[in-house]
């Protein structure tokens, strides 16, 4: 009886009744990138089917387009779509980080863990999509039942008299105490946002420091590279810039054992500061 959310039916009814927001998104928000042009949903599909490399997608470009798109929307839609976009964008970002991590031929514990992490990210994206799809079923059922009328008629006077006598044991003061309790605001804990106000760190700036340090010496361990840095954000940023520089073949690295010392060497034949200027653009806000 209950309709199943298999592809066809859900999508069909999605258009008609259920998620205007959802259908508006698939119809409305398009992405235009250098290597992709089409609806956002299609992009996600391609990525989750491994038919497109997440590392080739510029998230900043997608985000810019989305923000521009939001500008044309009504307020309500905007909120829904913005929150949905955040979910997907956050997942894509995670996937991208995992995608950027170097994958050597060596199948060691870390590589396996990395693969698992990537699978988990795919799983998370799929999970989110599954819930999003099934929410259309919820919407459809809720709307259908909202229109239904059920018999909910007050008891006849005749029968009402048959209800057992009410046992009442509260004094007026008890009642007042109860009222105080009832009016006390319900504690609804919330997630604090304080942790979001960490100082911003620029990948590009950190990459510049890494380049400067590496070019001046034969080799450097990552530990030395971050020596004296207290802020975790900067450590992370320097690590990401190492990855980015590796992508540009500007450095090589060596790690003799898992979790062992990471030794970095400058390896660029030709390096211009223009490369540096575009480095980490994907991470820009």
């Amino acid at each position: 009886m209950a309709p199943s959310p298999s592809e066809g039916p859900v999508d069909a009814t999605l258009e008609e009744s259920a998620g205007e927001a959802a259908s508006a998104e698939s119809a409305g928000f398009r992405v235009s990138l250098s290597n992709f042009d089409g609806p956002f949903d299609l992009l996600l599909n391609l990525i989750s089917k491994h038919e497109m490399d997440i590392t080739e997608v510029s998230l900043s470009a997608v985000t810019n387009e989305f923000i521009a798109y939001l500008g044309q929307l009504e307020d309500d839609e905007e909120l829904d779509q913005a929150s949905e976009f955040l979910v997907v964008a956050a997942t894509l970002l995670d996937m991208k980080v995992a995608g950027l991590l170097p994958q050597g031929e060596l199948v060691d514990a870390e590589a396996v863990a990395l693969l698992e992490a990537r699978d988990l990210l795919f799983a998370r994206l799929l999970q989110y999509r599954a819930f999003k799809e099934v929410s259309a079923w919820f919407s459809r059922c809720l709307q259908r039942e909202d229109r239904r009328h059920v018999r909910a008629v007050r008891l006849d006077e005749k029968h009402r008299r048959q209800t057992p006598e009410l046992v009442w044991s509260l004094t007026a003061d008890d009642f007042a105490a109860l009222a105080l309790l009832a009016f006390a605001p319900k504690e609804i804990p919330h997630v604090g946002l304080d942790h979001l106000h960490a100082p911003l760190v620029s990948i590009r700036e950190q990459a510049a420091i890494v380049v400067t340090l590496l070019r001046g010496t034969e080799s450097l361990s990552f530990r030395e590279l971050v020596a004296g840095v207290a802020e975790p954000g900067i450590v992370v940023a320097r690590f990401i810039s190492v990855l980015e520089l590796y992508r540009h073949a500007a450095l090589s690295f060596e790690q003799l054992e898992p979790l062992g010392e990471l030794t970095l060497r400058w390896a660029a034949d030709s390096w211009s500061d223009e490369t540096l200027a575009t480095l980490g653009a994907d991470y820009d806000r």
């Binding site: 008609e16 209800t163 004094t171 007026a172 003061d173 009642f175 007042a176 109860l178 009222a179 609804i188």
Partner: protein, 209 residues
Amino acid sequence: MTDEMTGTSAEETPDAATPDEEATEIPLAERIEAILLIIDEPLGLVALAAAVGSPVPAVRQTLEMLVDDYDGRGKGPRRGFELREVGGGWRLYVREELDDVVAAFIGGQAPARLSQAALETLAVIAYKQPVTRSQVASIRAVNVDSVVRTLLARGLITELFADSETGAINYGTTDALLQHLGINSLDELPPISPLLDDGADGFDEGTIR
């Protein structure tokens, strides 16, 4: 969706007498039964005819047919309910022979004590009346529909008036509550907070912490 529905019904009964009355093709008896199922108070013949969009004589005739039908003089069996005209209106009643079954059920069903949720809701209504159900719900942070129904059925609260703009019903407490509490008027309710006295409105904003 509605169009689709009507369309389906139309296909099922293609040979209706009047082809232009598509909307009312569902048999009159069914339309009357639908209205009868949801009304609280007896509904007069004219109002019923207006509700189902059919002429009064046809409605009267169908009502009589339904009375017979429910009493077992139609094609089907006798029903546990009957259709009666009482005080100038029509309404479904439990058949009298079955009153004992209903009485036993109600007697065993209704709790003799109000639940904590019901008491707290009652307290909110007592101190904030007149107040709508959704206002109570937002203070209590839970859905209060069934609790309000219980309090109404117990005669502890009553419907005061409908909001002129939204149509939402405002509730207040009854003399029965005052009697239970052993006080003569609402003024004798112990004050619970100075904030409640001066600004009931400020309250919703969560001023009390």
